[in-house]
Symmetry: C2
Subunit: 514 residues, 2 copies
Amino acid sequence: MAEAAIRRRGRSGGGAARRAERTGLKIEASKYIERNIPLFNILTDEALEVIESNAEGILEEVGVNFVNNPAALERWRNAGADVDGERVRIPRGLARKLCETAPEKIIQHARNPERTVEIGGNTLVCAPVYGPPFVRDGAGGRRYATMDDFRKFVKLGYMSNWLHHSGGTVCEPTDIAVNKRHLDMLLAHMTLSDKPFMGSVTEPSRAQDSVEMCEILFGKSFVQENVVMTSLININSPMTFDDVMMGALEVYALNNQACVVSPFIVGGAMAPVSVTGTLTQVLAEVLAGVAYSQLIRSGAPVIFGAFVTSIDMNSGAPTFGTPEASQILYGAGQLARRLGLPFRSGGGLCGSKLPDAQAAYETAHTHNAALLGGVNFMLHSCGWLEGGLVSSFEKFVMDADQLGVLHQMARGIAHDENAQALDAIREVGPGGHYLGCAHTQSNFKDAFWRSELLDYKPFETWADEGGRDTQALAAARVEQLLAGYRKPTIEPDIEEALNAYVANKKASMPDSLY
Amino acid sequence: MAEAAIRRRGRSGGGAARRAERTGLKIEASKYIERNIPLFNILTDEALEVIESNAEGILEEVGVNFVNNPAALERWRNAGADVDGERVRIPRGLARKLCETAPEKIIQHARNPERTVEIGGNTLVCAPVYGPPFVRDGAGGRRYATMDDFRKFVKLGYMSNWLHHSGGTVCEPTDIAVNKRHLDMLLAHMTLSDKPFMGSVTEPSRAQDSVEMCEILFGKSFVQENVVMTSLININSPMTFDDVMMGALEVYALNNQACVVSPFIVGGAMAPVSVTGTLTQVLAEVLAGVAYSQLIRSGAPVIFGAFVTSIDMNSGAPTFGTPEASQILYGAGQLARRLGLPFRSGGGLCGSKLPDAQAAYETAHTHNAALLGGVNFMLHSCGWLEGGLVSSFEKFVMDADQLGVLHQMARGIAHDENAQALDAIREVGPGGHYLGCAHTQSNFKDAFWRSELLDYKPFETWADEGGRDTQALAAARVEQLLAGYRKPTIEPDIEEALNAYVANKKASMPDSLY
């Protein structure tokens, strides 16, 4: 049985073991999830073929816009598309053909080789929340995020043993100038964690900075030959590819770095209200975006992204963890697999303002759909609150703990002789109990997943300890983790060079709001 | 597309419409869920065959105990089993053969024909929490349940439009003598709701009382020819069938009433710590129990039950909503379908003391597994708290609202011309938005499921209204629902006869603690 994903947890040979000895603190970390269970395929082949045919029809007939990007239009024209102003109409079959050179699986390297992840096939790599301008915790409430908050989230991510990836903009450090904050964010990921991370996409020049900082961290030739960043390229749905995002994609593709090409859709606003209509548009957009990445560099690593949610037609608010969002996730996963691309979707998505029951219901729906729907890269796995406006400290550790559920589910069900447990059933017999039997004794340690956060105590103990809810337990865990944080070791020369790069870059330009 | 389950919502022809007119209150109620999506089959055929073979081997070699029940032993001996004291060893193939006469689908009638449910095949019928001795609400905390609490839960169940079934012991009315409380409970289900319900199982004579009260409510011949109760028969795992539960099963089977034959297992205590070992024992127990029901009356309606959870090996506490519990649910569903029996499992199970994020994570895991795992009858769908010790008013309405998510997921994904939405994509084009387009206008009302409880408001509005969490929103909803409750109409003669039956029965015996 492929229980490798779990057995790997706590593995600490070589460098990690030496580091642990030096620091006195052992960070257990699970590798990415490898699924040993089937996937849930909600759509029939017939439905998939309808969607695929319609998507190609839309590309040919309606087309997509590449805005402020004459070079992109030129590339499309040379590839055989019909270019009219900024509108690119792609003949049936062309985009799909171009997508064929994108790899099925991406190995993203971490500076600690034990944290290197595989994205594609039967894997699921979990990365934290991305993008919120606010943070919230129980004590301080909701407030604008700062660089200090950012560093705390990176530390929490480093210490979360079911989280595989350090992510990107875990919150927007609003106290740093917009044109400089990417430097501080990358420096934090590179020095406060040893997990893989994402590059900047807010300007092509910032993508270039990301590449250059990686060249310092990993070495220049290593970066050209290996993926060391997976960065988020959103499509301006419907069917618009803006020059900023495409400029960043161009930098990354040229440098052989991975991008998630991701429609960002609130159904009913940026796509039709129907699931099938939305899937059609998602596929058309991803086909165009991935095909474009291959025009930049054939073989550039790309992930089929689908960030799709629904809308509350009463208030116009986006809603999360809804059944329609799950249906779209399941369907998009099938489309990605048929295209042979790694798939990004899911996350601990919710609309709630607080890390309460609503947040957890919605998050669990999306987590489950991500596992069974074949997601390979799950951004926003933990910490997402209030429709993505807020990074929540408590929810970060709550969701990160829940990712353990997905790991255990993914192990599948062994049915070897030990798992069959016939001797145990014979030994115990009718009316007995299994607590002390030989099979239980030799298997109990690994038999059941155990939360490190949730309450399993007797009522009286729980009441004596203050009758805390999950948010209160999580607040205590945040404090405990941050107090126990120790920085992973890094070559002093490299850290110095990174600091110098950031200082020089910052000194080279005035602060800017854009 | 089979979107019937949803379209039926709000249907109010005939009697319901007239009732609504009379009372001025319209109770919308969805019929049971009919799945238009595939199921998630976690086990391979090979694994299923191993489990089936092992279960039959256990029945033959180890056997089961029928305690204090000489008539049962006699029945087994006559059927060809090897009976040794109270131990019944069932030759390979016999139990499975006996199960063949149990029906694949059960139609349970409600006194309001529009609330009649089908249990089996592609359906999912949701019933509320069963059994807790305590109740909890935000204002009153945790306290022993009373008959007044019981009536409130029945009223809430009646008014929950995604809940199909009134259930049974929605909480234990501890202020009524044990030997009389079944009478008050049944009377409440029969008069305060018009949804289907469960009979008493705590004594064979109380099962008989349940049948007699149904004869008053439905008419004697109707009860003999139709299922009007689905009652819960727990197996004392491992592999013990006690005389009280079997006595109740005998009464119901003789009267052609449905029973859920359900192992009650905390894995690691009442079954092996391994998923496959537990599934083996579950199957052996259900085979023996269902076979026994067919010995009582061939063709008696029975449901394959599996109430299985895991244990925290640190504290010994049972845990809920865990990945192992989901794996067992998925596997047991496959076993039930191969046996051709309706399947009971799932529920809003959780270990949390409060209706907080833990409760919701755990509940959502189990709800999702129940939907995708093919559950036909989901007891404990809403209201379960603290490992089943507590019926929570807030969690009742929270979970009941969440059942709407399952309804919408189960609809599946239409791909007809309207769902394809090609005209909308053409109409809007790159850079536009769909809010006002023709397709959105004609579809938005039914496009997205909408919670009637959760918060979708802008942050400022939410904050102005007190910044309430889900529990606070739920407390308000409980109050609002109970204030708006109107009793469904019932023939005065029938109600009088029921009241008289209960009064006479109560007067006929002294209060007892057993």
